[in-house]
């Protein structure tokens, strides 16, 4: 359960909507099931009835600001990790800051429905969070299953990078703190594999890709006017899974596309219907960049230059990669 209540968020939304300070609220609404929470735009106090806040509000709302700020002044609820995406989008001039009223919501970690399913089984009909427990009712059992919330957190919440909002107009709670996470541990595991093992790992993961484009569509760094994969003259169009090489190319092109801009928000992996750990590709690039150019967190501040778009005399020589020099040195 989130310590911050739905009522607190609603109160803020009602207040700003009715005062006319904003004309729309970006939040989450319930889908068919409790866990089926989707981003939503609420343009009236009445509409707020559908507003939800809870363990399944993982969706990062930043990207929707591009579209909505063109029509409205928008109240957006942002969890700490979401604020990095907003900053990164502002760095890239994707919308006007004045069009946004950002309300920082504290976050106690969001639940991963896939992990929950694995523990509670299929046929979930209702999910109820109480404290650190999640009560799950399924079609196939009379008794609700009780699950420890901490065991079903999203990977990105287990490795939470910060409880501190990188940007906000107001906070609904006290400022949080940076968390120390071991988010590069999984990357290190991949690095310790032999090239053949690693190739097999990714071959196996990426072979499941159905090119639904969910990772691209949800990614707050993927905001091109025309995506190269949709542009007939780009040469990269239709990099569909015609063969095993091309299905990898889609993800590799995408990883390089967001390199230096990816805030590691983890939305790509969260939405992937095939459960491909796509965040690991981006995280590997972040880890390498940190080793080469010093620690850089995209979106930590508006206007910061990514090391890939910046040059300093002390930059590592590109040959270092080929020298096989120790990246962490």
């Amino acid at each position: 359960m989130q310590k911050m209540t739905r009522e607190a968020l609603l109160e803020k939304a009602r207040e700003l909507l009715s005062s006319g300070k904003v004309s729309a609220v970006l939040g989450w609404k319930k889908g068919e099931f409790d866990y089926d929470v989707t981003p939503a735009v609420f343009d009236s106090v009445d509409a707020l009835e559908d507003f939800v806040w809870g363990d399944f509000c993982g969706a990062n709302l930043s990207k929707y600001l591009i579209k909505e700020t063109k029509k409205h002044r928008v109240l957006v609820f942002l969890k700490p990790c979401d604020t990095y995406s907003m900053n990164q989008l502002l760095t890239e001039h994707r919308f006007e800051r004045e069009q946004v009223h950002a309300v920082g919501v504290p976050c106690d970690g969001m639940a991963d429905i896939n992990l929950l399913r694995r523990k509670a089984g299929e046929g979930i009909v209702s999910v109820d969070s109480i404290g650190e427990e999640i009560k799950v009712e399924t079609l196939y059992s009379d008794e609700p299953v009780i699950i420890d919330r901490r065991e079903v957190l999203l990977e990105r919440c287990v490795n939470c990078k910060s409880k501190k909002h990188a940007a906000f107009d107001e906070l609904l709670s006290d400022a949080g703190e940076d968390s120390s996470s071991d988010r590069f541990q999984d990357v290190e595991k991949l690095e310790s594999m032999t090239p053949d093992e690693r190739f097999e790992f990714w071959q196996n993961e990426l072979s499941r890709c159905i090119r639904c484009n969910a990772c691209r569509d949800v990614c707050p760094a993927c905001t091109c006017e025309t995506c190269v994969f949709n542009n007939p003259s780009s040469g990269a169009e239709n990099k569909a899974p015609v063969n095993s090489f091309e299905e990898q190319m889609f993800h590799i092109i995408r990883a390089f596309h967001v390199a230096g801009r990816c805030t590691d928000c983890g939305e790509c992996a969260r939405v992937c219907p095939e459960h491909i750990p796509l965040h690991l590709i981006n995280r590997k690039i972040i880890k390498d960049m940190n080793a080469f150019y010093g620690v850089f967190q995209a979106g930590a501040e508006v206007g910061a230059k990514s090391p890939l778009l910046d040059y300093t005399v002390s930059d590592i020589e590109p040959g270092a990669v080929f020298d096989g020099r120790d990246h962490d040195a």
């Binding site: 006017e225 780009s234 040469g235 005399v313």
Partner: protein, 663 residues
């Protein structure tokens, strides 16, 4: 569809020796769009060029592919050729089948195959080529010379004589460089000071020359004809305009125990000092690491005695921004550190010295007023051993020394040996060498005089170990000609340390985007035909910054570089490169990535109007100023949306080349 002509050059046997040129030409006849294909012995010759021009006319060619040497060599030549026949010069592509093919392959079959593949890529590219027209840029008529040694001084004087303003930036407090530290110069033995100091004064007095001494290059941007440079003038705590160089401050300064860099630490100077009597500018400088006043605010004697009121303890580093049309790099050399050469006891004995230290010991303005005395006890040395190639020509010990020959050591060691014997005939002099290399006008005669007239003992062999013992230096060496081991009890050992580029050269090269070799020497645009030009347009090279060099060579290079600079500065406009970036505004999302990486400030953003299916939209989008863009292509790789592209090297053209290679 283009009508493409393919011309395969033999380059004598350079290409034809490893590539079956006839087979290449025949194979390419079947490529799509190719209507004519032939080969010729020397495509760059008059006859070769005529052949191309005739074919363009006879076959109505719209595009030309030349399979020859690197485009760096002759692309410009062939562009002129096709232009004279009425084609747009940018409808030409060069497939490099020499450097990238015949020179790196031994087997004719492989070479031929690769040549065909490279040519196919060029043909695929030409299909997508479009005519391009270059613009023009103005030239800033001012030159920058980096380094105030003899190379920099000579280059500046020559440029200034031609009527162009020129600035010298020198990191030391005075110009003069290494030559100012030398005693006599080979092979004519004129004293270095007598020929250098008048040039230093000339430079100071020339109204076209500004000298920024005790200054460094803080930043360089721009391009040929339009460099923007930031010069950092380090605080010398003395007002350069007021100081008369009288030396009263130097005399009164109580802090007299600072190692004197000019004499390589063999004597001391005061905290406020003038590097040497003939320094230009002759202005004092306060060493902030040694001055009590600057360190803890106690003293202030120099300010009290300075009648000109020039001392200024509050002086701060100052930054000057200036524009230049051309840059001459003359950063020179340094002897290598001998820390790793323990076998010669350089670190443990004061009487083991480097050749440059020997110069100071024999110089009238040096620590011993020109008397050759041992640094340890001030006694006259009776037996001197010179060791050649210390750290030069190192094979397999690159950790310690340099693979190259330092070039000047044979001559200066002959000079040192000869002058010692001349002045002190009772002193025995030994020179250990690997080879004696003395090519140069009057050089070998000079060396022979040392051996034949002055009786210097030249011994072919290596010194294995130098051991200080009872005030002597035991030199263990081998004589390779007599095949015996020698043990010499020397009083002084002089090491001819290898020379390396100045440490400031590497970061400077990075800022200039000028290329360097693995030893950090600057590389020439062409080692034979463009020896004083860097491959980076507008950057010229003079002296030891591009390889070991003696004074005559350095001076001639400086004048050559100056001639190149003058040739550039007399032009009012430079023809630009039409291969500039362009942004497809429809794809641009306005993220500013391109603007961030553009080294030339060629990209601006503005709100643009877009007519979309759902109405007219205003959106932020990038545009490129083609007059400022230099076509580096940074924006094309930084753009996350693929909106930025480089004319003449569009993403589509490059992908077409790759596809042709992978076909």
């Amino acid at each position: 569809m283009q009508r493409i002509g393919v011309f395969v050059c033999w380059c004598g046997s350079n290409i034809a020796g490893t590539v079956d040129v006839q087979a290449v030409s025949d194979a390419l006849k079947n490529e799509p769009g190719v209507v004519f294909s032939t080969d010729y012995q020397y495509m760059c010759s008059k006859t070769g060029q005529d052949l191309i021009q005739d074919a363009i006319k006879a076959h109505d060619l719209t595009g030309v592919v030349i399979c020859s040497c690197s485009p760096r060599m002759h692309e410009a030549t062939f562009r002129k050729t096709v232009a004279a026949a009425g084609l747009n010069p940018y409808m030409l592509e060069v497939a490099n089948i020499r450097e990238q093919c015949s020179w790196v392959h031994k087997d004719i079959k492989t070479g031929t195959q690769k040549a065909i593949v490279l040519a196919r890529a060029a043909i695929a590219k030409v299909h997508l080529n479009a005519p391009l027209t270059p613009g023009e840029t103005p030239v800033t008529k001012r030159a920058l010379v980096i380094g105030g040694g003899i190379a920099g001084i000579q280059a500046a004087l020559d440029i200034a004589e031609a009527g162009f303003p020129v600035d010298i930036v020198e990191k030391k407090p005075t110009i003069g460089g290494k030559m100012a530290q030398l005693d006599k110069t080979f092979p004519t033995l004129d004293c270095a000071a007598c020929i250098l100091t008048p040039k230093m004064v000339d430079a100071a007095q020339n109204e076209n020359i500004r000298i920024f001494s005790y200054s460094e290059i803080a930043g360089i941007s721009g391009f040929v004809g339009n460099f923007s440079v930031q010069i950092k003038r380090k605080a010398r705590f003395v007002n350069e305009d007021l100081c008369t160089g009288c030396g009263a401050c130097v005399e009164k300064c109580p802090m007299k125990k600072v190692p004197n860099e000019f004499n390589l630490g063999m004597d001391n100077r005061s905290a406020v000092y003038i590097p040497f009597a003939q320094a230009v500018p002759k202005v004092a400088v306060i060493d902030p690491d040694a001055c009590n006043m600057l360190k803890n605010g106690k003293c202030g004697l120099c300010a009290k005695v300075c009648t000109a009121g020039a001392i200024d303890y509050k002086q701060r580093d100052e930054y000057i921004d200036e524009k230049y049309g051309a840059v001459v790099v003359a950063t020179g050399f340094e002897p290598i550190s001998l820390q790793k050469f323990d076998e010669y006891a350089y670190n443990s004995s004061k009487d083991v010295i480097t050749s440059l230290e020997f110069e100071r010991l024999t110089n009238a303005a040096g620590p011993t007023a020109g008397k050759l005395l041992r640094p340890s006890d001030g006694k006259h040395p009776e037996k001197i051993v010179f060791v050649q190639c210390v750290g030069s020509r190192c094979d397999g010990c690159s950790e310690k020394g340099k693979p190259y020959c330092s070039k000047i050591c044979c001559m200066y060691t002959a000079k040192h040996a000869m002058l010692t014997r001349d002045k002190y005939p009772d002193t025995e002099v030994y020179v250990f060498y690997i080879d004696v290399r003395t090519p140069g006008k009057n050089f070998d005669e000079f060396y022979r005089r040392a051996v034949e007239e002055y009786g210097v003992h030249y011994i072919k062999g290596a010194v294995g170990k130098v051991t200080p013992e009872n005030g002597k230096l035991l030199v263990q060496a081998s004589d390779l000609i007599d095949n015996k081991q020698l043990l010499i009890d020397a009083d002084l050992v002089v090491l001819a340390a290898a020379i390396e580029p100045d440490k400031s050269a590497r970061p400077l090269a990075t800022q200039l985007t000028a290329s360097m070799d693995t030893n950090d020497f600057f590389t020439e645009a062409h080692p034979k035909l463009r020896p004083v030009e860097s491959p980076t347009a507008g950057v010229f090279l003079a002296g030891a910054c591009k390889g070991p060099k003696d004074i005559p060579e350095t001076v001639s290079e400086a004048s050559a570089a100056a001639a190149k600079v003058i040739g550039l500065l007399v032009k009012n406009k430079l023809t630009g490169n039409p291969c500039v970036a362009s942004v497809d505004a429809l794809l641009c999302s306005g993220c500013s990535a391109c603007q961030n990486v553009c080294p030339y400030g060629a990209i601006t953003y503005e709100e643009k109007e877009f007519r979309m299916p759902d109405g007219v939209k205003m959106r932020r989008a990038a545009s490129v100023n083609p007059a400022v863009c230099q076509g580096c292509g940074c924006c094309t790789v930084a753009c996350p949306s693929g909106a930025a592209d480089l004319l003449g090297f569009t993403n589509r053209q490059i992908m077409a080349e790759v596809d042709a290679i992978c076909r």
